[in-house]
Symmetry: C2
């Protein structure tokens, strides 16, 4: 801990700021929504329904419009929830701009506007993205308009400005985001652990645990400050369940049923959302006006449905058990009161009556979930209102996810799952009846709503133990841990049989070379070797060579790192290590490093000279996550295809290539080689190669033959599902012939 | 999932049997303790104190004696909690017998006797050990008296009988043990994750999650079956807290204080226990009679103190708030009732009175913890009884841990921490006073007991997020998550400053070559290379050679794996891969594999012939955890120093060495080489080498120079703290000269 105090301080700072941002976001949205409903309720009480409808539409359309405008014209990288991008980044793919300060600001406002507009989406996904952006900005400095100007350039934290620590702080920020959004400190840590499983170390987990604790603490403290005016008592869980029910053996049968349903619908959601996103990428995304108009249209639909649907539903009585003579108290309701507060009367202005559909539709998503999870309110919602909510929410949410505004799918997933569970629970109640005794207290639609939420969420995200912990932290209902675990498992299994997870599908849609935990191919990878998938056209660079030759090599390819070779007495070109393109570039720019040796080692393979070629196709090779000491402060905004950053530097490089003197002046790369680079034999098992690559977080492995000559290189792209599948297919075809 | 159905079925089976064993263990202990207290209570009611004391001592001494006898004469590997052994195994060190069926049976009975005897220890540690033994036995078959007789030799699960899966199932069993012992399914998974961090994959976590769920489910179902006679409702958490208290900002100040105290005493406990264990290893362990007598003596002391101490304490009134006129109701107790059931009257036979010390001492550890954690019972225990309990329990438990009986330190750690916390909480209550309002409900000694337990446990085990989850699962008190996290962190930090964790210290004491998450050395390992620590006297084996030569090489060293080299045209001996000693042995035993070639490649370095040498010093090198297809079913009970398993085989080998014909007959190892073995350059950074080794779970890495010739080998022992420290010191001395 002594050697790493700066890491700890930084973790604390990230936690603090994420917590502050999280509570601010929550409170700002709360205030806007409050004032929106305040105005609507006034009109509702005056029974001015037409005017109310108009006002509601006007407000949500303008908010939706604003949320789209800031994204489309501000920072398109801030669109959507951002979770697929974070997952891709943590997997080792570098993506531009997503953790910039501009993305952070835009995301905040877009999220505020979109959630306040009443669009079917939540603030949790964006909060995770904002958390990781804070992690990046605090630890690496701020960047403005493409140039790093390194404001808070504290000398204290300079040590943290490297690829390896950047990655860790971004993970910590994401974890803190979860901790703050769900008041789930342990869940935040586990979320990052489960998603980034490969690069995990004990020490990092311990630091992120601290970061999440601080974030959760700060959120709680600031929320209490905002709400009560003084730093006071900490609130309970987000969807606190007061009436705990013990779980019971017999409840596991319906739980499995709900799990299967959750998994099925989650797969359907994934499939539908994916196809909508594909359609949107073709038809909406290329047109900025369509991208801005789209949320407004959806907001119009959403609000109109929320206003109109409740009209179709009959009013229901609240206190039939206490007073069975009340109007509307049919035998069905005879045994139940609806004790909960916050019921919407809407058009049911009579005493003791409420409108079930209005209670579900005409409020925020959080409130709806609370209603759905409420215990001992068996008949609060009838099949009609629940099924309507399910159909409307499922289809609209399916469309909403992927639009321009910064919205996440976590709260919607919880809501859809809860409705599903509550419908099933209502069915079980109808079959078994309401029982007061110890044995059958679990027959409660609210309990099944919780199970349904876990199942649907599990089917959508494929999180396992993280989800179990998050559900507990969200609801404080520890007695349901086993049913929740069952639902998560069944939901995940069911969905696994049908389709890949939503996040992974969205990552594929964005064409990120994502490496999953193990390749999704039928064959056993242990039967193949890395030789079967490796890239064979390796560009190597000599340890010692003329300046012009080095410049030629840089110009002839766009690889971000190059294997360095040395020619031995035997004439073998043996592998020495890896050097980064940017380092070679820096060396070539420094004339003082050039040698005038007369007898440098001659390199046999002279790469062909072709200046233009390098500019085609971007290799988004991620630098080795484990990092090496950086010669220069690598600016990751430099398109890697460009030889030089600025026009001036470009001229320098052209000079190196053209002037004859540089054919006689030499440089040695020896001091700058990464001598800790991995090398494997071509006979290395593909399965183990994949594991090595993914577990150690590499960006490339050099393949050397038994004389230590470079025969190939395995990069991230060689190991994607697509590529392995294709290569293995080719091999099969060859052997079949 | 389709390809791996056998893994899933096995995980389910392990979960089921661990759960069954866990509930049986719990219930058997409960029955014995119940009958013990039943007899004692009868005598107590008759006021026959002398007789009662005698009976209590007789019962606990005989039980303690029995628990020691089964271990010492049955299976010494079953002694203690077994957690350090499991940690060492999961770290990659192979230890003999600890997962055998004999160890399982002995552990069960020893644990039952020891816990029933009232020794200060718990059944949770042994349960984890038994869980992993079940994982091993179910997946790998049963072994009796040293020979594998492969009962349940289902053809179905033959595929699972390899090093890699064995390791996973043992991990799963350990996790299921935690899940069953603490009714903490998620905690079980996280425990294994946090302890074995390095070899973790997503898929494994997902399977262990399932295994833990099944274990927890089975435990609950069987417990309800045993208790009520029918498979019924699931019980709550182990130490269920009904009266939840919201956490509040101001409570974090005393929480930090309790955290520091917990950490300090945890460090003291570790130091004291370690020194007692060292003393015991010298003076008790070598003498079987002493090892058996020791627990009986401790049981005598423990029982005597439990019987006598309550005599020293005054009786206290129970219902002063309701009826302040009761005798003993001083103003101090005026505002509090003691609502809890289960108070011991002991000698306080008057109505409405109880003996605080008897309530704490004269019962089981679990009950004591429940009393300590109880809320709204501010003045139930006075300083006197709490401090006495702390002193007695701390010192006796410190001595008890490490004796022969199978006892764990988890419940004692919770108990000691709870006392500590309750003392602090009583202090806070005395300062602040009892408040009914929302603001200061946290001023409750029971709440602080929970915090203290977390802090002490954290200081002892250095678990972080796992502990937070386990504490929640143990008590159902989610509102205290943030204070618990704070206490865990502060406790761990404090203890980290003073001493290494108890488990790691015990592992060091057993001389296991344990690899911690990162080496505990001052220097930055990135400044050194693997060349600085690698072993240089590598014994290589030629790819093709005479039978006699191969036999000589096997006889000349005791390495468990050997690098295979091939001589190239240039005369270089290039590295081809790794072969296991046992595989070479199997090849040499099969005469049909021998070739009569006339012109085999000649090997330059011919190792010296020395038969006896190999029998010195055992290298407990663990086979590569990632495993390679096994030629033979490796029996891990074979002492690796022996050239052959049986006398007959030994003769075969001697024949190979001595008969002249075998100098003319050749074998090729080529088809049996592990060609996926790791190789690194001598210039590889030591830090990255350590990470590679630990993260990929290797047992050795071959170091090759730039011609691919073997120049060294890095094994587990080269990377232990001790060795790195020593080697770096040597380098420093050399550079200083």
């Amino acid at each position: 801990i002594k050697r790493e105090w700066d890491h700890w301080v930084m973790m604390g700072l990230i936690g603090f700021f994420v917590g502050m941002l999280g509570s601010t976001l929550k409170l700002v949205i709360e205030k806007i929504v409050e004032s929106k409903f305040h105005h609507i309720t006034i009109l509702l009480k005056k029974e001015a329904f037409g005017l109310m409808w108009f006002l509601a539409i006007a407000m949500s359309m303008s908010l939706a419009l604003a949320s789209a405008v800031v994204v489309v014209y501000g920072e398109p990288a801030a669109a959507g929830s951002g979770i697929p991008d974070i997952m891709a980044y943590l997997n080792g793919i570098s993506i531009r701009k997503i953790f910039g300060s501009k993305a952070l600001v835009v995301k905040f406002f877009s999220c505020v506007f979109a959630v306040s507009a009443g669009l079917y989406g939540g603030q949790e996904g964006p909060m995770i993205h904002m958390g990781s952006a804070i992690g990046k900005i605090l630890s690496q400095g701020v960047s403005f308009s493409g140039k790093y100007s390194k404001i808070p350039d504290f000398i204290l934290f300079k040590r943290l400005r490297n690829m390896y620590d950047r990655r860790n702080f971004i993970s910590a920020g994401a974890a803190a985001g979860v901790a703050s959004a769900f008041t789930a400190p342990v869940g935040g840590l586990l979320f990052v652990l489960e998603e980034i499983s490969s690069f995990w170390t004990h020490k990092l987990a311990w630091q992120i645990f601290f970061c999440c604790g601080v974030a959760s603490f700060t959120t709680q403290a600031f929320t209490s400050l905002y709400r009560t005016g003084s730093l006071g008592s900490f609130s309970r869980a987000a969807f606190n369940i007061d009436q705990a029910i013990n779980s019971q053996l017999t409840m596991f049968l319906p739980t499995v049923g709900v799990g299967i349903m959750g998994g099925l619908f989650a797969a359907l959601f994934t499939w539908a959302n994916l196809n909508i996103c594909k359609w949107r990428n073709r038809n909406i995304v290329p047109r900025p006006w369509a991208r801005i108009a789209e949320p407004a249209v959806v907001a119009f639909l959403t609000t109109t449905l929320a206003v109109l649907i409740p009209y179709l539903f009959e009013c229901m009585p609240t206190r039939c058990k206490k007073d069975p003579s009340l109007p509307g108290c049919t035998p069905r309701y005879a045994s139940s009161d609806v004790p909960e507060e916050g019921l919407m009367q809407y058009t049911c202005q009579a005493e003791g009556m409420y409108n079930p559909a209005a209670t579900l539709f005409f409020t925020t998503g959080d409130r709806t979930i609370e209603h759905l999870l409420s215990r001992n309110t068996h008949y609060m919602f009838d099949y009609g209102s629940l099924i309507t909510l399910f159909v409307v929410y499922f289809s609209l949410c399916c469309y909403t996810m992927g639009m321009a505004p910064a919205l996440g799918s976590m709260v919607p997933a919880l809501l859809i799952g809860s409705v599903l569970g509550r419908i099933a629970g209502l069915g079980v109640t109808d079959i078994v009846g309401i029982h007061e005794g110890e044995e059958l207290t679990w027959v409660d639609p609210g309990g099944f709503a919780l199970i349904g939420a876990a199942a649907f969420f599990g089917g959508l995200t494929r999180l396992t133990f993280t989800l179990a912990v998050v559900m507990i932290e969200l609801t404080d209902e520890t007695h349901f841990l086993l049913p929740i675990m069952t639902a998560v498992m069944v939901g995940k299994w069911t969905a696994d049989l049908l389709i890949d997870s939503l996040y992974h599908k969205l990552i594929d849609l964005k064409c990120f070379p994502f490496l999953s935990d193990e390749p999704h191919v039928e064959e056993c990878l242990d039967l193949y070797t890395v030789e079967d998938v490796m890239g064979r056209d390796v560009v190597t660079i000599p340890e010692i060579g003329s300046v012009a030759l080095m410049a030629h090599i840089l110009a002839s390819c766009n690889h971000r790192a190059l294997p360095v070779v040395e020619v031995t007495e035997n004439g073998n070109e043996v592998f020495k290590g890896i050097i980064l393109r940017s380092h070679v570039f820096s060396i070539l720019a420094k004339e003082s490093l050039f040698l005038e040796e007369d007898n440098p080692v001659v390199v046999s393979k002279s790469p062909s000279f072709s200046m233009g070629e390098g500019e085609e196709g971007v290799t988004n090779l991620h630098m080795e996550a484990l990092g090496i000491a950086e010669l220069v402060n690598l600016d990751d905004k430099m398109p890697v295809t460009l030889l030089a950053k600025t026009e001036g530097e470009r001229k320098v490089m052209l000079g190196r290539l053209q002037a004859a003197e540089y054919h006689r002046r030499f440089v040695t790369l020896a001091p700058y080689i990464d001598q800790s680079s991995y090398r494997i034999a071509p006979t290395f098992s593909l399965e183990r190669g994949f594991n090595l690559f993914r577990t150690m977080g590499l960006s490339h492995i050099t393949v050397v033959d038994q004389n230590n000559e470079v025969v190939g290189i395995v990069s991230r792209k060689d190991l994607t599902n697509m590529n392995i599948y294709r290569k293995l297919e080719e091999i099969q075809e060859r052997t079949d012939e």
